[in-house]
């Protein structure tokens, strides 16, 4: 079977292993209406028990949930330096809240953002912020419900790596990257709007 990964406009082999946390024991209740900003959308974050019980191999390239990574950050210093550790964030997680806890985001050679439902457009803002505001320069990967018809927007939002959903053909999905030739507005890949680039 060919690879599901599109990296820099080509099908590529995936060298990374995604480390899944154990499932939560109890159902976490939604806190709708509570004015804690990142809770408004209702998703639960990992609980302490899940964070502590997440296990991962001692060597090789692994992608860790951000909270697991923060928990083990000191112990993982060497592996981070060896570019063996990637970050996994969910679209409902607040980047601002953990970015301060990492001294240099570019020590990590990969950040992957998991989109649970393709229609969850938060991933675009997260990509944009990671690139533009936090100046992340390395591989930015979309994982989860990643499909052809969102690739163009993902690319424009700063993603250069796409792990296509298992049941879809990456060779077909890659065509989505070139749906449009010259977009109007400035974004991440092409930062200037059309009117500042070409004479109209």
């Amino acid at each position: 079977m060919s690879s599901q990964l599109i990296l820099n406009n080509h099908i590529a082999n995936d060298e990374w292993q995604l480390i899944e946390p154990p499932k939560a024991q109890e159902e976490v209740k939604k806190q709708a209406g509570k004015v804690v900003i990142f809770k408004i959308t209702g998703e639960a974050s990992l609980n302490q028990d899940q964070i502590e019980k997440t296990t991962f191999p001692k060597s090789g390239k692994i992608i860790l949930p951000i909270q697991v990574l923060l928990h083990h950050q000191k112990a993982l210093m060497d592996r981070i330096a060896k570019k063996e550790i990637g970050i996994w964030i969910e679209t409902h997680e607040e980047i601002n809240s953990f970015i301060d806890k990492i001294d240099d985001i570019n020590k990590f050679s990969l950040i992957s953002v998991n989109v649970r439902k393709f229609a969850d457009g938060r991933i675009f803002s997260i990509g944009n912020m990671l690139r533009m505001k936090y100046k992340f320069k390395n591989e930015l990967r979309a994982i989860g419900d990643v499909l052809r018809d969102q690739l163009f927007f993902l690319k424009r939002s700063g993603f250069n790596s796409f792990l296509i959903r298992k049941d879809r053909d990456a060779n077909d999905a890659i065509l989505g990257l070139t749906d449009f030739s010259t977009p109007y507005q400035g974004a991440v890949d092409q930062q200037k709007p059309a009117w500042k680039i070409i004479k109209r």
Binding site: T41, S125, L147, F153, R156, A187, P193
Partner: protein, 551 residues
Amino acid sequence: MYKYDTLDQTLVNERVAQYEGQLTRFLNKELTEEEFRPLRLQNGLYIQRHAPMLRVAIPYGLLSSSQLIKLADIADKFDRGYGHFSTRQNIQFNWPKLEDTPKILKELAKVEMHAIQTSGNCIRNITTDQFAGVAPDEIIDPRYLAEIIRQWSTFHPEFALLPRKFKIAITGSSKDRAIVQAHDIGLEIFANNKNEMTVKVWVGGGLGRTPILGSVIKESLSWKHMLTYCEAILRIYNLYGRRDNMYKARIKILVKSLGIEKFKQLVDKEWETIKDGPNTLDELEINRVKAFFSEPNYKSRGTDELSKYTDNKQFSQWLLRCTHKHKKLGYRSVTLSLKSNEQAPGDATSDQMRSVAELAEQYSFGEIRVSHEQNLILADVLEDDLFELWEKAKVQKLTTPNIGLLTDIICCPGGDFCSLANAKSIPIAKSIQDIFDDMDYLHDIGEINLNISGCMNACGHHHVGHIGILGVDKDGSEWYQVTLGGNQGNFASIGKVIGPSFSEEEMPEVIKKIIGTYVSNRHPDENFIDCVSRIGIDPFKKEVYGEKGKK
């Protein structure tokens, strides 16, 4: 008006190809219904009660004659010979076949039209004042800014999949005819005390299930920052707007739950990081787009033709109701009413469309506007041509002199077509138009906006109608709830429910009683809405429900 260059045309052509591919993959079962849904919606395609409905974008309501002729041709070839102009200045075709939709889009692309982002959870068609560029009270012509926003919002990658739909309206007049306060973002353009173009930004307005008027988030913003500031608002909304419950997903709910102060704080903080960024507007782009909206070649005032016809009562009534003051001496703007009782409000047949295109070509520099009140407008007509135009338009039944009056009903397609609707709305409009067919009486009761929506999605803007009618579902049958005191414009307000809902048969009588209450309580020269504000809704309730205030 704006003309496409290679870039615009290429994007639209690429969109047609993309959509055609998506439809093929859907028909080949390579895309599930759930995956295809947002894709078709962002191309204006709904699955309706009888057939798909295709909503075509009319950016800020502006059309050329050749575009309108194309719409007429599409109506004939792919639909049943008519189209429905919507309250968002778009046109909807109710009967196309799914497999024909790429062909329709290809036809549209030939005249610089498309269905991009006319539905779905994205930035929708930008709307504005139907008298933009010609209104005497206008401060700044908002059309070129609307076009700039259109381009910026088209396929904006960051805001392609928002929590819910997002509507932006822009006005440049002291009198707001674009109901900017009822939009997710409302932009009011004015000149500050240094005479620089400045933007007042409203956020979190919207009708629908939870009607809320917008709050001011920025009192004055330089035009240069218009796009980046919108980006900051949209980013905060995109990240924090609710996605778990579609009824609580609009930006108004986020603004309300955080409070405008907290929301503004978040937006301003985010804006700091993108302010002066690449999407900051400059003179070059402003002037490029502005040039497309330069004044047409107005003639100087001719002879005073109009005075010849003062004895013609029908014409005089039309002149009074359907023509509007123009910034240029000797010119008027004309509203062609799509509100005769012979067709559903906002509907136009292909013959009517062709005839309007021809009238525009002959009398109004080949341009037509669609108003959010669902009428068609010829913005630049010489007063000397009015009589001739009126006679020709009369043949096509486009001269009902009811603009702004009770029978100029704003109405959604309702349960006859729309699968979201709880109740029919077109028959209610017709039954009201039928009993108020005496023009003299209509003129006597004066300006009244009556708006009808078939469900709480409020496509018929019922909340801001002086009289609002909302279709509700009670145990599987259709009922109608009546509100009074809604208003649009600078004094926008949300109407109050007068009491329990009514059956379809009761509705004409209810409206009659409401009007009767107004007539017996009004001061001389007092409009309906002013009378409602003064006396409150109780006298109306009493009349409609009897002494006890109950049915």
